[in-house]
Subunit: 237 residues, 2 copies
Amino acid sequence: MPLTDQSRRDRILDAAEHAFAEAGFSGASMRHIVLKAKVNLATVYYYFGSKNGLMEAVLKRRFGPLRQEHLEMLRAAQNSNGGRPLSVERILEAMLWPPLRLAACDSDQRHAVMRLIGRIVNEPSQQIQDILHVQRAEVREAFLKAFQESLPNAARADLLWRLEFVWGALTFILCNPKKIEQDSLGECNPRDTQRVLEGMIRFFSPGFQETRPTILRTRARIRKAPRSRQRRSVVIA
Amino acid sequence: MPLTDQSRRDRILDAAEHAFAEAGFSGASMRHIVLKAKVNLATVYYYFGSKNGLMEAVLKRRFGPLRQEHLEMLRAAQNSNGGRPLSVERILEAMLWPPLRLAACDSDQRHAVMRLIGRIVNEPSQQIQDILHVQRAEVREAFLKAFQESLPNAARADLLWRLEFVWGALTFILCNPKKIEQDSLGECNPRDTQRVLEGMIRFFSPGFQETRPTILRTRARIRKAPRSRQRRSVVIA
DNA sequence: GTCTATAAGGAGATAGAC
DNA sequence: GTCTATCTCCTTATAGAC
């Protein structure tokens, strides 16, 4: 870790990224960050103004390039396909690979980036959510459009839901790689990015093909809950 | 909201559940909680000992019954099926419905419970993760076994990954119902629990049937990233 | 640009009266 | 069991010398 080669600003961003990824926004403290970055506390305020400003800079450094890579990969796939609708597999690949690749970089920051993506998705702060929303809206639209072209019979609402499911699954595994590995007793290896990608594409692709309209079944048998300690005056079922 | 009918202890738990769900563990403060619960600060320490103890009580109140409901619903489905392997759809229903139903209760605590489930999954604290692990391990095993019986040709590692994907998608939509509704301009309605359940079962079922072994494709074309600002000395691809 | 020193307040937790 | 008052520490943030 050559400290001399790295400017103070970058050291702070790296340390902050790490801290925010590990402890969340409110859980991370400026003092821990400056300790790890080996800079003075006032330096952070000089460069970033506030803790919020620091988080914003951390997010933009990662999600700006990520957004561009998403869009470029989708466009490259479309170009190489001569303008015809892409297969679901190709779309999913363009959707999942950029974040997985980012997380696969072999560096000290690897785990930090992985967890940061997953962490901030569920971050309570409205300001953080706004930053994320701006970064994601354009990408969301592009992929939704690709899916609509690929699956003209699918209901738009279904596709929207499915994008959320995939995005949720992705952020979850990015945020909890260690837990997954431990819970599976080593059978799942989140660092084998290539295999994770293949597994996700194989698992999610068939579901997207399911374009018949939803038929709501009556499900009377599950109305009864086993315990009485919960309030369930109104049960939707 | 009849305050007199509710013991202090329950008022604290309700307020804490709400606060933790909204702001996360470190983001929520004891002082905000006692303000909402209309109790004295010392009362919380009398009943729960510490902030950690309070969180633990909040989690156990919800996840104990949830665990039981998961197991009972799976067992009921197996019994009604005469011991034969369940369909993937039935297993998914038993897996998804208890948390969705819990979130569908029409009460002031509804949103709190929804978001709490999603929130704590990504909570950094190790102690919280341990509580969650204990609650989830038994349920995980039961559902994994059900899937293995239903899909004898599926690789165990694949099933483990897929359980994580489903769990990740579920916790994501539980934690971010408002965001989903806004991003979709109202087309997705997270409060229509029944439809969400059907949508998830329809989306995830086909993927589980995919039991052919994974064939890793070479993907040279995605090796190139669009921007040079990221370090990518070692790219796994 | 970088530092020391410190402000100003919020946090979790407790002692001890009632 | 419930309250007031307080301890102690840590937090974000800033003022001002160099």
